[in-house]
């Protein structure tokens, strides 16, 4: 098997995996929330309602593609594409198993941070171009929230990077053979995970959308598959956050040898995804300024202290 063919297979495989995971997650989330909330969730289309996302996708694709006359048309169309694009791109660096990675970059961690920062453009552009006051408020909140959480998301990861001595994700996984990073870097993990959920703007940090306040915030005006794209982007984002957390803190593909590495990776990722869904089912939403204050006053100092303590132990 030639090197190029192998790479193509991996690329197609990862994209196919993500494209199945996104609708699968929508179904899983709705079923799990239904279960936790004493109701049924989708259970009519196919066995256990498993084809529900398919039916939804068909509906969304065939809906009239309506663009509000007051919107800024090119930007309005571009915004949902940005979400999906950045979400896909950051998956390129995540090693599913030894050797199964689209791009084994030496600056993997930085690439991830760059891509997740680009994601904010979708919110800002979408909210701005919709020319709707609710969208505008959502976009403003989104931008502020992302910028805040971006700062210490990076800092919280530096402990892991220092311990592995590399920005390369495969090497970070291999450096965890003795012990998963979640133990020595527990503070880093907590800060990163909170920041990650905030970056995904999912409940409890869905402040840019805030159903009960801003209706749907930055994507109020979107309909049809453009609206669907925001959701695909969100769910790929969830998978990505879970995958990245697994890689950085839970030893990636490492695990007892009765299962192949990729199975361990997928299992861990799945568990984290379920946890993210559980968060959504249980917590209320803080206010926008409270979230900012929490970030700057608690999480940022915490991640800096974590960095210093890690440095102290490494250089001792």
């Amino acid at each position: 098997m030639s090197e190029t063919l192998r790479l193509w297979l991996i690329v197609v495989g990862v994209i196919a995996l993500l494209l199945t995971i996104a609708p699968g997650l929508i179904w899983l989330e709705r079923r799990l929330l239904g279960w936790w909330q004493d109701r049924k969730g989708p259970n009519r289309v196919g066995p256990f309602g498993i084809f529900q996302p398919l039916a939804d996708a068909i509906k969304l694709i065939f809906k009239e593609d309506w663009i509000p006359p007051f919107a800024d048309k090119p930007v309005f169309i571009l915004a949902p594409a940005v979400v999906v694009f950045t979400a896909f791109m950051s998956y390129a660096i995540i090693p599913l198993a030894p050797g199964i990675v689209v791009a084994d970059l030496n600056i993997g961690v930085l690439f991830f941070l760059a891509m997740s920062s680009l994601g904010v453009y979708a919110i800002v552009l979408g909210g701005w171009s919709s020319n709707n006051k609710y969208s505008l408020l959502g976009a403003m909140r989104g931008a502020a929230q992302m910028i805040t959480y971006e700062v210490f998301m990076g800092i919280s990861l530096l402990g892991v990077v220092m311990m592995a001595g590399s920005f390369n994700l495969s090497e970070i996984v291999l450096a965890q053979q003795g012990m998963w990073n979640v133990v020595p870097q527990f503070v880093g993990f907590v800060v990163f995970f909170i920041a990650g959920v905030a970056e995904l703007h999912r409940l409890p940090f869905d402040i840019p959308e805030a159903e009960s306040e801003l209706i749907a915030g930055y994507h109020s005006e979107y309909s049809g598959m453009k609206f669907g794209m925001f959701f695909v982007g969100e769910y790929i984002g969830v998978t990505m956050l879970a995958g990245f957390t697994t890689t950085m803190f839970f030893g990636g593909w490492l695990g007892p040898s009765f299962l192949p590495g990729i199975a361990w990776f997928l299992l861990k990722t799945f568990a984290i995804i379920v946890f993210i869904i559980l968060l959504r089912g249980s917590l209320p939403r803080p206010r926008y300024d409270q979230l900012m204050g929490y970030g700057w006053k608690i999480l940022l100092p915490l991640s800096l202290i974590n960095l210093m303590v890690t440095g102290y132990f490494l250089l001792r």
Binding site: K133, M140, S282, R287, Q290
Partner: protein, 578 residues
């Protein structure tokens, strides 16, 4: 009463103050229109134990009225005041002749007079001189006529076919243009240009068709102006059309979460007019169903409040608990949200077999759930951060704005009409009146949650001590009379036939009765002109004055806080608009 009359006559001259006796025994005085502000100021600020709350303000079209006990009048404006120190009401009436329809506004005296006066203007065309913003409040701005005047048609079929020619459509569209000046809002201040955000009438956070015009500086609220009336169905007008008996189902739909509790407020007023004593069993059945509905209503509020601050799950748990209450209600009444179950003189039928087991099961089940919700919602840090210290008002302000019910008790004022003015045998029950101290969103929640526990205690006492006996009074005006009597004597049969086909004829008179409803004090003021329908039905609802307060308590907070405040107030749009 005599002392009060003496004081008023001493102060304003004997010829100026006339008294009137009413069925409800509330001291009622007639005062000339020009003296209204003076007399009300005297009652609010100058006498000892003042009447500090403007409980209600409304008008009556008296032109075709036959039986009068008060002064000659074409339009009467009624001010209903409440004194907490005296635990007494007073009613001030003023007569207006047709043609001269103006009297001084009392907006400077009570903050909540603003909307009440606008409503009287909207419904009767009465002008209040000096009112800062006298516009229509419930009807569209383009409406012609004043709906509660007797000559205004009550049914669409009396109005001719509806037509919307293009020029009319243009006019209507023009009227919908948002101009901040018309709402009393500035476009800009010295250093900033404001953003105006239209919130509602279709918005997930407003719990119904409520529209708010927000004046924003960034996300900070400079001012909020509620626009109500989208849910206005003319419930008061319908009272003048339906018979005393057939109006009961309409009351169900006023506070549509309160169910039979609305029947109770209306029927207590009717029974006062008719002089009916309700047998003990019927009273206790009424209390039990009312308290079940109080729990059901508070559960809806609890879940939606949590949802307003972004918590998704609680609302599902609370709705499934509410379903259990509806199972009981359904077994007793056959209906769920609008059971239409109380009748003049009692309730529609006796309790079904097995009701006691259902109620006992619920009493055993519910406290555990409440404890769970405390852990899930009330003890949650984020929830506290969102609600503590938000939307604060103190007792003084609550009284000034006419707030009753949990909103008043959250400020530390222990005032519950079930305790202070027991009706329907509430004096025989053992329960506490929960209060809180700070008057913020969180405290309003604390009060309601404790109220659910107290309601459960009352239900439990009903279960244990349900009296035997009739579920309907034997009074001839009881509608319909108990079936077993109808089958055995011809007098009752005739009564049954007449009361059902025409409706009962309630003796002429005026009576008010207020109750402690789910959201505060709900009261019906009824005038009978000695016929089968009411001459005037005035519904005093708790949500109306509370909604008026929104602007006052939201200024300086953010949009997110506004939604928390709206959620904490627990209003129902039908209860505001009627």
């Amino acid at each position: 009463m005599e002392e009060l009359t003496r004081k008023l006559q001493e102060r304003f001259g004997e010829g100026q103050i006339a008294t009137q006796s009413t069925r409800d025994g509330i001291p009622t005085y007639w005062v000339p229109a020009r003296d209204i502000p003076k007399v009300l100021r005297f009652l609010k600020e100058e006498i000892s134990q003042p009447y500090s709350m403007l409980y209600d303000l409304f008008a009556i079209d008296e032109r075709p009225r036959k039986h009068r006990t008060g002064q000659e009048s074409d339009f009467t404006v009624v001010y209903h005041l409440l004194s907490f120190e005296r635990n007494a009401d007073i009613r001030i009436k003023t007569a207006l002749k047709d043609g001269e329809r103006g009297l001084p506004s009392i907006c400077s005296l009570w903050a909540n007079a603003n909307w009440y006066e606008r409503e009287a203007y909207d419904m009767f065309g009465i002008h209040f001189e000096g009112h800062p913003h006298l516009r229509r409040i419930l009807m569209p701005q383009t409406w012609e006529g004043h709906p509660l005047r007797k000559e205004h048609p009550a049914r669409a079929t009396e109005m001719g076919p509806f037509q919307l020619p293009p020029d009319k459509q243009d006019r209507e569209q023009q009227a919908l243009q948002f101009k901040p000046e018309e709402w009393g809002l500035e476009r800009e201040s010295e250093d900033t240009e404001f953003m105006f955000l239209n919130l509602g009438p279709q918005h997930p956070g407003t719990h119904g068709v409520l529209r708010l015009a927000l004046q924003l500086d960034g996300e900070d609220i400079v001012d909020v102006v509620p626009d109500i009336g989208f849910h206005h169905r003319g419930a008061e007008k319908m009272g003048e059309r339906q018979s005393w008996h057939t109006y009961i189902p309409y009351t169900d739909r006023v506070d549509y979460l309160g169910g039979v509790m609305n029947n109770l407020a209306y029927l207590l007023a009717v029974e006062r007019l008719a002089g009916i004593d309700v047998p003990p069993r019927a009273q206790v059945i009424r209390v039990m169903l009312c308290e079940l509905f109080r729990i059901a209503s508070h559960l809806v509020w609890y879940g939606t409040f949590a949802q307003d601050v972004g918590q998704l799950s609680p609302v599902f748990y609370m709705f499934s608990d509410r379903e259990r209450i509806f199972d009981i209600i359904g077994a007793v009444c056959g209906g769920r949200m609008h059971p239409n179950w109380f009748r003049i003189g009692g309730v529609a039928a006796d309790l079904p077999e097995g009701w006691d087991k259902m109620v006992a099961d619920f009493i055993a089940y519910f406290p555990k759930r409440l404890r769970k919700y405390d852990r899930l919602v009330m003890k949650n840090r984020i929830f506290k951060d969102r609600t503590v210290g938000i939307g604060v008002y103190d007792t003084q302000e609550a009284i000034e704005w006419g707030v009753t019910g949990p909103g008043l008790r959250a400020t530390g004022m222990e005032w519950d009409f079930r305790k202070k003015r027991p009706y329907s045998s509430y004096d025989q029950f053992d329960f506490e009146v929960p209060v809180a101290a700070n008057g913020d969103c969180y405290d309003r929640a604390v009060v309601r949650i404790e109220e659910m526990r107290q309601s459960l205690r009352i239900v439990e006492q009903c279960l244990k001590n349900m009296p035997e006996g009739d579920y309907k009074s034997r009074h001839p005006l009881t509608t319909p009379p108990a079936k077993e009597h109808t089958m055995h004597d011809i007098e009752t049969l005739i009564n049954h036939f007449l009361n059902v086909s025409w409706g009962p004829v309630i003796p002429a008179g005026e009576a008010f009765h207020g109750i402690e409803a789910t959201k505060g004090s709900n009261g019906y003021y009824l005038i009978s002109d000695g016929s089968t329908t009411s001459y005037r039905t005035r519904i005093r609802t708790p949500s109306f004055p509370q909604m008026q307060m929104i602007s006052f308590i939201s200024q300086g907070y953010t949009v997110a806080d506004l939604l928390a405040i709206l959620g904490s107030i627990d209003y129902v749009l039908a209860d505001i608009d009627r």
